[in-house]
Symmetry: C2
């Protein structure tokens, strides 16, 4: 199944130009054919193409179906962007595939990257959402400071993952309680969070955690943390 | 900590040329300095450099330390290689980081790639082993046929992951028993395993499994499967 992404499909009844080009030029869909469209907000539409102009393709909606997320815990990962953008892009693709609600690029003490353009990351998330047959687009926020994130989160369970062995912590897999309706996990840069950051987070109610005995790259840690939440949630079912 | 890889360090007392160049040209290590060397077989050596010739660096071993794997279950993933080699390379890096014993490229009915060069994958595994501070190099075997793999494996628990919803299966997270001393998971190509392959595997004692509700790319499925084994193992500790 191929899904086209049109965030305003319901009000505008047109495909964005890039999607229209793919639909009509590449896949040679014609007026009268039926296509599947998602809005990134949890709905899938079965649409009949009414104009196969690749610049201004219009549709009429035949059916609208709510396709809720397959997981119930709202998962946010706040992660210090890696120096190498390929690794960030890979991370966004993989988090979207396994299922995430929100990604916050985190500006912290030892961040290797202090600025980040999120447009390209958002396009990767769109592509991964379509490919993995989801209907909800993860939110990718602009970069936020560490302090802003730890002071403002209202997640039910909050964790900070770090490597520093001198500050006690337990495994995320053992600490996470699947009753949580929302969870936030902070993942630090290659140089780890500073001791002050770890201490502020703990004071702000974050549980200190480890992701196991392996030294993981930032993007691997983010994937592993999100995967852990899904796997522990599966066990309670 | 920087680890150098020299599989024959104990018998030859020299660094391979690529490692010697990095050690001496890039990091400017000199005769008399102490470096850490791993052999990929579970040992770390503290070595004193006795000749800082970048083509033929020699060492004397000061200490030899056994560094066992941090996990006890022997994990094998047999996976149909993706068409795009970047995705395979990414997969090898990530599986090595989170911990795997053996990767078998699998030739199956709907494989998109019927041949694979494993040299480059092995170099990526070496690099990820060093980076993640492991001392054991995962084995990457030449490509094997589906039938050969399912007939010859002696793993204690064996699983086949597939998407076909018409053949009943349960979640890996719920089916895997952490008492296993060895586990093998088959991961299919983008076009899935054929019904005949699934049926032969089940007859050969493989448990049919799903990795959850998401449609995952091959390389993501392999990572997720290996991650699931580690997370369930963590819970029993």
């Amino acid at each position: 199944m191929i899904q086209f992404y049109a965030p305003d499909i319901e009000s505008e009844l047109t495909l964005p130009e890039e999607e229209a080009r793919h639909c009509i030029k590449v896949l040679r869909t014609r007026s009268g054919d039926v296509i599947e469209v998602i809005d990134g907000k949890g709905y899938r539409f079965s649409c009949r193409l009414t104009d196969d102009n690749p610049r201004h393709a219009t549709v009429e909606i035949e059916t609208k179906t709510a396709v809720p997320l397959s997981w119930s815990t709202k998962i946010t990962v706040a992660v210090a962007p890696t120096k190498n953008m390929d690794r960030m892009e890979w991370m966004v693709e993989k988090l979207t595939e396994i299922g995430i609600n929100r990604i916050i690029p985190l500006h912290c003490r030892y961040s290797e990257r202090k600025e980040i353009k999120i447009d390209r990351l958002q396009r990767i998330a769109v592509s991964a959402m379509k490919q993995s047959l989801k209907t909800v687009l993860p939110e990718i926020t602009p970069m936020r400071s560490f302090n802003e994130v730890i002071q403002s989160s209202d997640a039910e369970q909050k964790f900070i993952a770090y490597c520093d062995p001198s500050i006690p912590r337990k495994l995320l897999s053992c600490e996470y309680r699947p009753v949580a309706d929302s969870v936030l996990i902070l993942i630090g840069p290659e140089g780890d969070f500073s001791k002050e950051e770890i201490s502020s987070a703990i004071t702000a109610g974050y549980m200190p955690i480890s992701l196991g005995e392996n030294r993981l790259r930032t993007e691997t840690a983010a994937f592993n943390a999100c995967d852990t939440i899904h796997i522990i949630n599966q066990l309670k079912q």
